[in-house]
Assembly symmetry: C2
Homo-oligomer: 212 residues x 2
C-alpha cells in the first residue's frame, strides 16, 4: 500500500471507529437511564432498547454481551460524576464559601440525580457478588475519593488548618452521609434529609483541625 492510500485507509477506518464509538456511547447512555430507573436486577436488554431508538438486536451488534454493555454504561456514569465539585473548588475564595457551595451542590445532586446515584450504589454492591465488576468499581470509588479529597484539602487550606484524617476516612464519611440522605430522600423523608444537611458542615469541620 502506498503512503497516500494507507493514510486514506486510516482516515476511513478512523471515521468508522468514531461512528461506531458514538453509537456505542449513545446506547450506553440509554442503558444508564434504564438501569437508573429499574435497577440492575430488573433491567433487560429489550427494556434498554425501548429506551433507545433502536431494536433489541442492535445491542449485540455494538456489544459482545450484557456485561460488556453494562460495563460501558458504568464508564459513562463515571464521566459525569467524578468532577462534580471541581468548579466549586476552583472558584471559591473563602473557606465558608467553599463549604456552603459544596453542601449546596451535595444536596442539589442528591435530589436532581437521585436515580443515577442509586444506580451507582446498586452496581457497587453488585461488585460484591460479581467479580467482573470489581475492578471498574474500585477504580471509580478511587476517583470519588480523590474528588472529595480535593474539596476537603482545599477547605483546610483556605481555613488555614490541616486535614485531621486520611482521604479514605473522609470519603467513607461523606459517602455514608450521601447514601443515607439518598435513602431518606427516596423514602420521602424530607426531615431526615434536612437534618443531614445541617450536620454535614459539622462533619467536615470535625475532619479539619484549625491551626492554633
Amino acid at each position: 500500500m502506498t503512503d497516500v492510500a494507507s493514510r486514506k485507509q486510516d482516515r476511513i477506518t478512523r471515521r468508522q471507529v468514531d461512528k461506531f464509538d458514538a453509537r456505542r456511547t449513545e446506547l450506553a447512555v440509554a442503558t444508564l437511564h434504564t438501569l437508573a430507573e429499574l435497577g440492575y436486577a430488573r433491567t433487560s436488554l429489550r427494556e434498554i432498547a425501548q429506551n433507545s431508538e433502536f431494536s433489541h438486536g442492535v445491542l449485540h451488534y455494538y456489544f459482545a454481551d450484557k456485561r460488556d454493555l453494562i460495563t460501558e454504561a458504568v464508564r459513562q456514569y463515571e464521566v459525569v460524576c467524578v468532577t462534580r465539585y471541581d468548579e466549586v473548588v476552583a472558584t471559591s475564595a473563602t473557606a465558608d464559601q467553599l463549604r456552603d457551595e459544596f453542601v449546596a451542590m451535595f444536596f442539589d445532586t442528591l435530589g436532581q440525580d437521585a436515580t443515577l446515584h442509586r444506580l451507582w450504589y446498586d452496581l457497587r454492591n453488585q461488585s460484591l457478588f460479581d467479580e467482573s465488576f470489581r475492578a471498574d468499581v474500585l477504580e471509580i470509588d478511587g476517583h470519588r475519593e480523590d474528588m472529595v479529597w480535593r474539596v476537603v484539602s482545599r477547605y483546610a487550606e483556605l481555613v488555614g488548618g490541616t486535614v485531621a484524617v486520611s482521604p479514605g476516612m473522609i470519603y467513607v464519611t461523606l459517602d455514608g452521609i450521601f447514601q443515607r440522605a439518598l435513602l431518606n430522600h427516596l423514602a420521602g423523608n424530607a426531615d431526615s434529609v434536612a437534618q443531614l444537611r445541617v450536620e454535614l458542615p459539622a462533619a467536615i469541620g470535625l475532619m479539619v483541625s484549625t491551626a492554633e
Copy 2:
C-alpha cells in the same frame, strides 16, 4: 364448646401454628443463605429450594409469594445482626478494652459473615428501587444505628467524655467504614482492610471529646 374443649383446641391450634412458623423460619434461613451466596438479582425460588431439604413447590405453601419469602428472610437477618456488640458493651470495664474488643469483633464479623453482610447492603439498595422493602430496611437501619450508639456512648462514658456528634453521624461513619472494608475484603485486598483497622479507633476517638 366447653372450656376444656376450647382450651384443647387452642393448644392444638397453637401447636400447629408453632410448627408452621418453625418451617417458615427454616425456609427463611435457607433463603437467607442462598441470597447471601448469589445476591438478590440472581436468586430464584428453585435455587432456594435446592439449599433446603424440600422441593420448590413447598415455598408457596408457606409463603404467599417471593416478596413475602424474602421479607421473612430479611427479618431473620435482623435477629442475628443487631445485637452483635451488646456483650462487648456489657462486659468491658475500661474504655480501652471496649474500644479494642469492638474493633476486634468489627473485623471478625467482617471476615466471618462477609456474605451475609453483602446481602444486607444488597437489600438496602434494593429498597432504593423497590418501595415495598423500604419500611423493613429503615427499621433495621434504625436498629443498627442504636447498636453502634450503645457502643460509642458507653465508650464516651468510660472515657469520661461526651459524644461529639449525633447517633446518625456515628452510624453513617462506622457503616461507611464497614462497607468499604467489606468491598476490600471480598476483593482480596488485605492491606486496605488492615489500614481501615488501624484507622477505626482514631475515627471513634474523633467522635468522642474527652472532658478536660
